[in-house]
Symmetry: C2
Subunit: 301 residues, 2 copies
């Protein structure tokens, strides 16, 4: 089943203790769609500038990602620059140039309108709501957001929250959104705002899934070396929703497996800069790491 | 099989967002032995002062903990005072009065000498080594330590590390001890120092077990309210070693279950101040929460 993502496509400049890259392809919609493309057909709605070349379009084409909704307009593509230090859990933003992303008005191509799985990556909640309204028949709508909108557009965010099935945010954002420092209580408060499924991302500690009546805890994958955490959260969301779109199974068991597939994809993403590792995977490696997650958490009762 | 713990017995004064208690029974050996007593016979080596009354001795007696090795001497019992705020992951020490603990010289009663399971709680590594040498036949020797000894008595700590089977420390301590910020590499470096089994405690995020050839990740138990984190680490160690002493099974499967039983006991401990919850448990509650941990982490392959 088809999976639609609306979000940013960007050029990133990144410095970590393991190296430095300049102007590589990134952005939430990019990481999401590449990760999800290992599971299901993906469609992208995003905007890029005149500096977006054939080589960048090929990245999507090579993964069979539908970019009919990728608008190319005058001006420059969104650029972000940041660095990671120490335990590398948080990026320090050095520079943000919104460029064409500043006036992003998502246009959904007619061919996308029957998409059953939709992910609204982190953009202005007004735009997220606008997209949501054009896709009333979607079976599962997922949402990401961030502190900037939680503080700056709380009312608009609440409106879109009431219209989604799934929210994928990190712990800090969950505490901010709910006003509660205890995560179990925060999760319950957020689920009352709309999303019946909540995934709390915990960085190197993994992710927790709050479903209708149960909690599922997935660990982080222990890695010798984290090269670049950029896009890990969007990659997680891509693996998660990609798996659900592939199977069409929204049972709790399936949601749990989706969390693990999201974690699998994120664990690959951080092994190298940008999209490198996600583009050189093969299905066998994905399955093998899924089994490693099982071995990492299994105990006999 | 009998389990021996050497460590502190103290009076704690604790303030958390949920209340305040003054001079309640605490200390590493206390939390450890009470937690372990739900699984196996426990023996304590510790020192207390003249202010240690019948009511305190009764706490151990009621749990059938052997206190032949609890030395009562002139002076006052070790007193600690601290507070927790915010996410409550770390205590702020307000006052420490070592009192009789300052000259603690652990004496192992003859009746303890055949103990097969030994836990050396966080005390001076010189004393830990001294105890270890008196128990050459022990089947499993576990160790705890802290930043104070890692920095101040590095050489002495390395000597005792080379003589133990198990080390239970938190992530920050593991990074300090190994000099590596990456936990997987840190774990490998620490295992080379001696302990073939390493448990890294991660506070609310649970614990990771590094055994001979595999890693096991146990989540933290999601709680609505954490009343008091004091003693959670020692309680974890007590549940962990108590389970191993009960079963006598040191297979990897058993070590994994031990991590879960340690997590179960720690999750109870923090539900109320001091030892309150650990003293009012029943075996059915322990088994039920063990199953909840299974449900929290299970997914179908």
């Amino acid at each position: 089943m088809s999976l639609l993502v609306v979000g940013s496509v960007a050029f990133d400049s990144i410095q970590t203790p393991h190296g430095k890259v300049d102007g590589i392809l990134g952005g939430a919609a990019t990481y999401f769609s590449v990760a999800a493309s290992w599971f299901a057909p993906v469609r992208v709605v995003a905007v890029v500038g005149e500096d977006f070349g054939e080589e960048h379009l090929r990245v999507f084409a090579n993964r069979s990602i539908d970019i009919s909704g990728l608008e190319r307009t005058g001006g420059k593509t969104f650029r972000w620059s940041g660095e990671y230090a120490g335990s590398m859990n948080e990026a320090r933003t050095l520079d943000t140039q919104l460029n064409v992303f500043e006036r992003f008005a998502p246009k959904i191509p007619a061919s996308y309108l029957e998409s059953e799985y939709v992910f609204l990556a982190n953009i202005d909640p007004i735009l997220q709501l606008h997209v949501r309204e054009q896709l009333p028949q979607a079976r599962l709508v997922g949402l990401d957001s961030m502190n900037f909108w939680i503080h700056g557009k709380a009312e608009e965010l609440k409106k879109i929250l009431a219209r989604v099935d799934l929210l994928v945010i990190n712990e800090t954002e969950a505490r901010m959104l709910s006003g509660d420092s205890n995560l179990k209580r925060a999760a319950a408060a957020i689920q009352k705002m709309g999303p019946r499924i909540l995934v709390l991302k915990r960085g190197e500690y993994g992710a927790n899934l709050y479903a209708q009546n149960s909690i599922f805890a997935a660990p982080g994958y222990p890695l010798d070396k984290v090269h670049d955490p950029t896009g890990a959260g969007d990659t997680f969301a891509g693996g998660f929703m990609g798996y659900l779109a592939q199977t069409g199974d929204l049972s709790e068991n399936s949601l749990r497996r989706a969390v693990i597939y999201g974690s699998v994809m994120a664990s690959f993403a951080v092994e190298d800069f940008g999209l490198r590792r996600l583009l050189t995977l093969d299905p066998g490696q994905i399955v093998a790491r899924f089994r490693e997650f099982k071995n990492l958490t299994h105990f006999d009762v």
